[in-house]
């Protein structure tokens, strides 16, 4: 699968996902050179003499304008790829907006033949800012989610969209590089489901590459998580306790997938204890059970597809954004100082000063002498 990283944050995660072949896109060659790893570099020239060195400066219109210069190249490579991008900055937001617009237009053009084929669907991994600690990025994210992303979800033109959040990074004070590695490692656990079905001994059913591709081609938000499964405990509460903290928590699932890996020689029928959870949710999951000899305990990877409209997310971001704005307004009002314009009449001031100063006693005595009274 082609891995494409857009902008600073997207590029760095993409390079972690595929250190040899990830295609990195940015408006600045300087920014691209900062990324360790990755393959081809695509520079989207900005129509400014300083643009190639300055990035998008958090302005999505710069990224979007720059996309026009690489549009044809991106249209060639975007089909079937997995795109990493952040929503808060200028480059990731702007270029990804352009990509989404083109995907929607392409899907519309292919409407008569059932739209974009499954193997050409594009997956998106979007990094959302921490709403409290990165409030300066929230506004761009609101625009992105309320317009291009909302339209893409409504049209169903994309594949899975994974909404990563920077919240954990700030909560646990994790360095950027380590956090990007965590995102890549986590995603690799999910992406390895079909390979594990190929390489390990199949115990129950089968998720092959085609099944997996069909699943990831669905235009829903994807929340995946993984944990050591204890068949003695309720699956639902284990699942809730192990939500993937790198992703936004999921809504009610519409579709689901899980891969259960059991240690060699252990009873693999424990998967039957999982099925009632999905039955209650009225979801028929795609699943398989394999034997993984390197494990000591059963390990499960679960993916839930949900269609929570980004508009609901926007409400939360808007709320935080409004709070930050209110505080800013209140601070600026508190710090507002009225500078009074003083209309100084120099004659009056001179009179006042001389009045305050009073007269000199010697001067008066001299006057008395001059008028010959003393």
């Amino acid at each position: 699968m082609k891995v494409i990283g857009i902008g600073g944050a997207g590029g760095k995660i993409a390079a972690k996902m595929d250190s040899q072949n990830a295609i990195l896109v940015n408006v600045s060659e300087t920014e691209l050179e900062k990324v360790v790893g990755g393959g081809e570099h695509i520079v989207a020239p900005v129509q400014s003499t300083a643009g190639q060195f300055r990035g998008s400066r958090k302005d999505p219109t710069i990224g979007h304008d720059a996309y026009n210069t690489i549009r044809r190249r991106m249209q060639d490579i975007i089909g079937g790829a997995i795109v990493f991008s952040s929503t808060g900055g200028g480059t990731g937001n702007g270029i990804t907006t352009g990509i989404l617009e083109d995907i929607i237009a392409h899907d519309d053009a292919l409407e008569s033949s059932n739209g974009i084929p499954i193997n050409e669907k594009t997956m998106f991994c979007l990094v959302l800012p921490d709403d409290e600690l990165e409030s300066n990025y929230v506004e761009n994210s609101i625009d992105f989610m309320s317009k291009p992303l909302a339209t893409a979800i409504d049209k169903g033109s994309t594949g899975n969209i994974m909404l990563f959040s920077n919240k954990l990074k700030f909560e646990d004070q994790i360095g950027e590089d380590a956090y990007n590695q965590m995102i890549a490692d986590s995603l690799n656990v999910f992406m390895s489901i079909p390979d594990k079905n190929t390489s390990f001994k199949l115990m129950e059913l089968h998720i092959d590459h085609e099944d997996f591709m069909a699943y990831t081609a669905k235009p829903y938000f994807n929340h995946f998580c993984y944990f050591d499964y204890d068949p003695g405990k309720d699956f639902g509460s284990q699942l809730t306790a192990n939500w993937n903290k790198l992703l936004l928590p999921p809504e009610e699932p519409i579709e689901a997938m899980f891969l259960l890996e059991v240690p060699a020689g252990q009873d693999h029928t424990i998967f039957y204890k999982i099925l009632p959870f999905f039955e209650k949710k009225k979801v028929n999951p795609i699943y398989s059970v394999v034997e993984n000899p390197s494990l000591q305990r059963p390990f499960i990877t679960v993916s839930l597809l949900y269609s929570r409209k980004p508009l609901e997310l926007i409400d939360e971001f808007n709320k935080v954004n409004q709070e930050v704005k209110d505080v800013k307004v209140s601070k600026s009002l508190d710090q507002h100082v009225v500078l009074e314009k003083l209309n100084v009449d120099m004659n009056k001031e001179a009179k006042r000063a001389s009045k305050e100063k009073g007269l000199d006693a010697d001067e008066l005595l001299q006057a008395l002498k001059r008028i010959k009274k003393l």
């Binding site: 009179k351 009045k355 008066l364 006057a367 003393l374």
Partner: protein, 117 residues
């Protein structure tokens, strides 16, 4: 520095003791006006006292001037329908003593300041 003024007359000493700030200021203002050859009348005197915050009534201003006249410290001359005030040599002696005693602070005459500007 002006030469020292010695008071030998007990009456003059007692008279000086009874003079207030208003009297002192009138003596100083009429001296300065005369020095500048500017006529200084009762109306100018009232305006200056008002500006200096000493009194708000013309009667008080008139009574200050009349007191100074009664003590022979000022002369009041009817000139062109105006009662102009002039300090006398006794008044000069009294003023010099008051100035040196630092009992009151000298204040400028608004009337004279206005004329200057």
């Amino acid at each position: 520095m002006a030469r020292a003024v010695e008071l030998t007359d007990d009456l003059l000493q007692d008279q000086l003791n009874r003079l207030g700030e208003g009297h002192f200021l009138i003596l100083s203002w009429c001296t300065l006006c005369e020095d500048k050859t500017v006529k200084y009348n009762i109306t100018n005197c009232f305006d200056d006292l008002k500006s200096a915050g000493i009194t708000r009534t013309k009667q008080t201003a008139v009574s200050f001037v009349e007191t100074l006249w009664a003590l022979c410290f000022v002369d009041i001359r009817d000139e062109r329908n105006r009662k102009n005030i002039y300090i006398t040599p006794h008044g000069a002696k009294a003023l010099a003593h008051l100035v040196k005693s630092n009992r009151y602070k000298l204040k400028s005459s608004s009337y004279l300041e206005d004329l200057k500007s």
